[in-house]
């Protein structure tokens, strides 16, 4: 099949009424959680996952993906109007977006954020179509040693980019690996640390873990003291950016799109990093860098495009290698497995409707978001006015229902509360949660690949170095681990950390 018949297949999948509905629900929910501070896309996707069990896998993935990129749209709204980023990727948008709103230009700021996101979303969907299939073919040559080294490299890149202390992030990752060994061993069938509890023999559930770490822990941290918000109440008008605005924003949007897409492929908090990088680049290239921070439209257009493009890029490792690059993709991977789809390089060939359907739905979803966000902006402003004292009990309720409806198990609610306590404390102790979530997802895969690789090599760990592809991954891993010790690189990394510190990955 050539690319056009693939696209046609994707279009056919998307335009089934059920899929259209779920795509719409996804982007709607995404915008909502993007608008609401204190409830990120990770928790929202985990929340809705149980409700997708009765639909087909492609419908489920379409909706869950919609939440992810929808949240990027919604996040910009709060950044611009309230100076509170709805989610981490929109932190940088506050700088110029809120200033524009203060100057009465909230309309164009919101408008260019939406259009920029749409253009970037389109670029990244095309990128996904072009890059993913050949990469998947390449990945077919991977065996257990390659997979193990690749996952190791992935997690180290994530830690390198996202964590303040590499040692502490590694510790939390290994802790996650240990937790992931709880349950029945896939190779020998031995029960490990299950204490006879049925729920634990399937392993520590990903959903209770995520709801606890990102949902409950986040809410608990927010009830420590009352949040204050200043809403720019002036009526939002003139959403369409002027011709001059378009001229100023055109190149930032294009640059942001490509930047975001390529950063998105890497593990880590790609939407956050790409937004920051885009802002830095635009400031450097600008003829008037001193005006950045006072409400210039480039400072909104670039980062907002970049964070949207990054969400598309993040799907590449998922569809080609079956490896998650951040917590959101980790849940999608969990969704694949729940629906009985074996993640890995065979996904595109074995389930073409899944890949092409999702890709085309992202295109349609971006168009829906444009409609949702521009004419309906007033609605989202109203949502923002719901006070937190009323909002947080509802968020907690959703977490409880979400976890319970998964298996109707009170053990899993208890697990969620436990992870909530752990996540709350771990934040206080400055440990990041992303390595833990990833470890729980890829832990079993890493363990199986490690053990298979050792069986193949008859016990020699040298197999990871004698296989050339694996050796490259190991080399990069070691280089990343050693490089922070080099003063010049270490300092630059530290600078990056100060920017992304404490963000949800």
């Amino acid at each position: 099949m050539d690319i056009f018949s693939h696209i046609l297949l994707g279009v056919q999948v998307v335009f089934q009424p059920m899929n259209l509905l779920f795509c719409f629900l996804g982007v709607l929910m995404g915008t909502l959680v993007g608008v609401l501070p204190g409830l990120g896309p990770t928790a929202a996707i985990a929340l809705l996952l149980p409700n997708t069990f009765h639909v087909s896998p492609v419908t489920a993935i379409i909706m869950l993906a919609g939440i992810y990129y929808g949240a990027m749209y919604g996040g910009s709204t709060t950044s611009i109007l309230v100076n509170i980023p709805g989610e981490a990727a929109s932190v940088i948008t506050c700088l110029d977006g809120y200033q524009m709103a203060l100057k009465g230009r909230a309309g164009p700021a919101l408008g260019i954020a939406a259009f920029g996101s749409f253009i970037a979303g389109t670029v990244s969907v095309i990128g996904l179509m072009v890059v993913a299939p050949p990469l998947a073919k390449f990945a077919l040559a991977f065996g257990p040693p390659e997979y193990f080294s690749l996952m190791l490299m992935g997690i180290i890149i994530l830690i390198y980019l996202a964590s303040g202390s590499i040692l502490k992030a590694l510790m939390i990752f290994v802790f996650g690996l240990l937790l992931s060994t709880i349950g029945m061993d896939a190779i020998s069938g031995t029960q490990r640390l299950t204490f006879g509890i049925l729920e634990l023999s399937d392993g520590v559930g990903l959903i209770p873990a995520i709801m606890g770490l990102f949902g409950v822990a986040e809410v608990i941290a927010n009830v420590e003291e009352e949040m204050k918000r200043d809403l720019v109440t002036a009526k939002v008008k003139n959403l369409l950016p002027s011709l001059q605005d378009w001229k100023d924003s055109f190149w930032p949007i294009i640059r942001g799109s490509f930047l975001g897409f390529f950063i998105g492929i890497l593990p880590g908090p790609a939407p956050v990093i790409s937004a920051f990088s885009s802002y830095a680049i635009e400031k450097k290239l600008s003829r008037y860098p001193e005006k950045f921070g006072t409400g210039v439209i480039e400072g909104v257009a670039g980062p907002e495009s970049a964070n949207n493009a990054a969400t598309g890029g993040a799907f590449i490792p998922l569809f080609t290698l079956g490896i998650p690059v951040n917590s959101v993709i980790a849940i999608l991977l969990g969704a694949f497995m729940i629906h009985g789809i074996q993640p890995g390089p065979m996904i595109i060939t074995k389930h073409p409707e899944l890949f092409w359907g999702t890709v085309m739905s992202m295109y349609l979803g971006n168009a829906m978001l444009l409609v949702l966000n521009l004419p309906l902006i007033g609605l989202w402003v109203q949502v923002l006015k719901v006070p937190y004292p009323i909002l947080f009990p509802l968020i907690l309720l959703f977490c409880l229902i979400g976890v319970f409806s998964l298996n109707y198990s009170q053990v899993e609610i208890a697990l969620m509360i436990g992870f909530g306590v752990f996540g709350y404390l771990a934040r206080k102790f400055q440990f990041e949660m992303a390595p833990l979530v990833l470890a729980i997802v890829i832990g079993p895969m890493m363990e199986n690949n490690l053990r298979l690789a050792l069986v193949i090599s008859q016990g020699s760990p040298m197999i990871f170095i004698t296989h050339p592809i694996s050796a490259v991954f190991i080399f990069i891993t070691l280089a990343l681990l050693i490089s922070p010790l080099v003063p010049w690189i270490g300092k630059r990394r530290q600078k990056l950390q100060e920017k992304v510190e404490g963000e949800e990955v």
Partner: protein, 156 residues
Amino acid sequence: MEKTQSHYNRIAAIFFLAVAVFFAVYARSVEIGTWNEPGPGFLPFWAGITLAAMSVALLIGSYARKAWPARPSFFPKSDSWKRVLATFLSLIAYNLLLNPLGFTLSTFLFLAFLVKFIFPQTWTRTLLVSVLGSVIARLLFINFLETQLPKGFLGF
């Protein structure tokens, strides 16, 4: 005395050291296997050893460096701990009451408690949110999505 990051790191190091030792010891009881044929205890054992080594490194590091930045106090406000504790306890209570009381009633109590007592709202607001919240959640999840949530002894 001002708490610095080193205090936090020290406590964390000891916690993870204990976890690591526990897993490493436990792994021996489920057969570690050999390098030729790794058993179910292989990864827990070696990961436990790795975590233990890293915890010790963190512990040593917390004593080695002198100038640590001071951390803000554990709770931002003096009464924060009450709200934090009450919220956790209400989650646990919900889990315990869910089966005997049923979904609708326990949800109502859960919402009412949190709205009224965490950041105290008026009674009108409390009742409005908790009644609407529990009824809508019931209709949405039990009647519409057909989620099998417990109905409790009252049967609703």
